[in-house]
């Protein structure tokens, strides 16, 4: 087992933060007690590092933009429609998709904790879990949007969805103009994570980040 005495660790541990050491100590105890499998921890980390992230949701949006039948399915039963693309499960068990239009913009928050549709967007960004976002989104959504550099026209309705139960929301942003000739993969590249939370808009063609 771990023979290091962290309190005397000195130079060989200087590259590790105090929190790193504390979490490693906790992991050591729990592994010794047989409650965790270290390989399972690695699998969990790898999953959210490389496999489950906002590109999943971008594919859902691009399909909705290009396939009216899929868009209707999303409206009727988003959980099943999204699962048909292979995305389901933890923190996305009960999905609802909401569509932005020229007259209505949706913004998703969880004022009580950090509820977020993991299967399509991955783990929530730091700001989504932060006090400023959770405090302000329901009262000052236009101010929050300004923090993201987004300004909506004055007449646009803003609907804020506070995820207070186990329903998880995916925003379908408006399809940008000038994208008629693009295929699904090219469209997905225009769909940012923030546009699927409602703090951003889909990118214009040519503006897609690498």
């Amino acid at each position: 087992m771990n023979a290091h005495h962290h309190e005397h660790g000195g130079a060989e541990h200087s590259e590790l933060s105090e929190m790193d050491l504390r979490v490693r100590a906790l992991q050591t105890v729990l592994a010794q007690k047989g409650y965790i499998d270290a390989a399972a921890l690695d699998a969990l980390i790898d999953t959210y590092q490389t496999r489950i992230g906002p590109r999943n949701g971008a594919r859902v949006v691009a399909r909705a933009w290009t396939d009216p039948g899929f868009r209707d399915w999303l409206r009727r039963d988003a959980t099943a429609a999204i699962a048909s693309l292979g995305y389901s499960g933890r923190q996305s068990e009960h999905m609802v998709a909401v569509e932005n239009t020229p007259t209505r913009h949706h913004l998703v928050v969880c004022t009580l904790c950090s509820c977020y549709p993991w299967a399509v967007l991955g783990l929530p960004p730091t700001w989504y879990k932060s006090a400023p976002y959770r405090a302000r989104a329901v009262k000052d959504p236009r101010g929050v949007l300004a923090d993201f550099g987004v300004t909506l026209a004055a007449g646009v309705e803003v609907r804020v969805l506070d995820s207070t139960a186990e329903v998880r929301y995916l925003v379908i942003p408006q399809r940008p103009d000038g994208t008629e000739g693009l295929d699904e993969a090219a469209l997905a590249a225009l769909v940012t994570r923030d546009s699927m939370i409602g703090t951003g808009l889909a990118l214009a063609p040519g503006a897609a980040s690498a």
Binding site: P54, R90, V138, K139, V158, D162
Partner: protein, 223 residues
């Protein structure tokens, strides 16, 4: 007994700007990844349920001073200590010093993909007919409850309209206290911004919450 959640932040004034973050960032610190994995793996043991986990987090006395993963770790340690799975001297020593009470399950690497893909659906057979239908005017119940509850303060005692009916779901109010799932109908309720924030509300603002049926009363005088 009083119950105080430090996590009910909606509508609070005085917070600073929201700081955007690149979507390519997955974990800002290496320990964040390990804290996430430990929390999920221990949650998968079944030693506590989702709502007990949320209640442990939101009642941490120093909630406001902690980063989010520190909140997760604080609640994780508390949940384990309450169940005798971890003792404080073991954390200090960095090794197991006491016998390990059994947990219902241990998450193995080969099961991770399946467990994540299955998730933990909260919908249950309905206990009876839904009291409300889409379009019905309702009022949320006023006041704090002396236990974990998913009705935010800013939406207590407010008039709204039923927009969606989600079926019956596990009720956090009882599940968080070990009193069983007691499934209740769940609704999306929409409020006008002015009903929540008064005449100074942003024009064109509406806010929805997902509310369990016991959080609602019929409203003879719609907003």
């Amino acid at each position: 007994m009083t119950y105080l959640s430090h996590a009910d932040l909606g509508g609070r004034e005085g917070d600073g700007p929201v700081l955007p973050e690149s979507e390519h960032v997955r974990f800002r610190e290496p320990w964040h990844a390990r804290a996430m994995a430990l929390t999920l793996a221990m949650g998968a043991t079944g030693a506590w349920n989702l709502d007990q986990g949320r209640a442990a987090r939101e009642t941490l006395p120093d909630y406001a001073q902690r980063s989010y993963y520190q909140i997760w770790l604080g609640a994780l340690q508390q949940l384990m200590q309450e169940r005798g799975l971890l003792l404080p001297d073991e954390l200090a020593a960095g090794r197991a010093l006491h016998p390990a009470p059994a947990v219902p399950r241990v998450l193995r690497a080969e099961a991770v993909a399946l467990v994540l893909a299955r998730g933990a659906p909260t919908q249950r057979p309905a206990p009876g007919a839904a009291r409300y239908a889409v379009g019905d005017p309702v009022r949320t119940v006023p006041g704090d409850r002396p236990h974990h509850c998913r009705l935010p303060r800013y939406a207590q005692g407010r008039r709204g309209v039923i927009e969606r009916v989600h079926g019956a779901h596990v009720w956090p109010d009882t599940n968080s206290r070990g009193l069983g799932e007691q499934p209740q109908w769940l609704y999306t309720v929409v409020f006008e911004g002015t009903e929540l924030w008064g005449a100074g509300a942003q024009p064109g603002l509406t806010v929805s919450i997902d509310a369990f049926e016991p959080y609602l009363e019929p409203c003879p005088e719609p907003a």
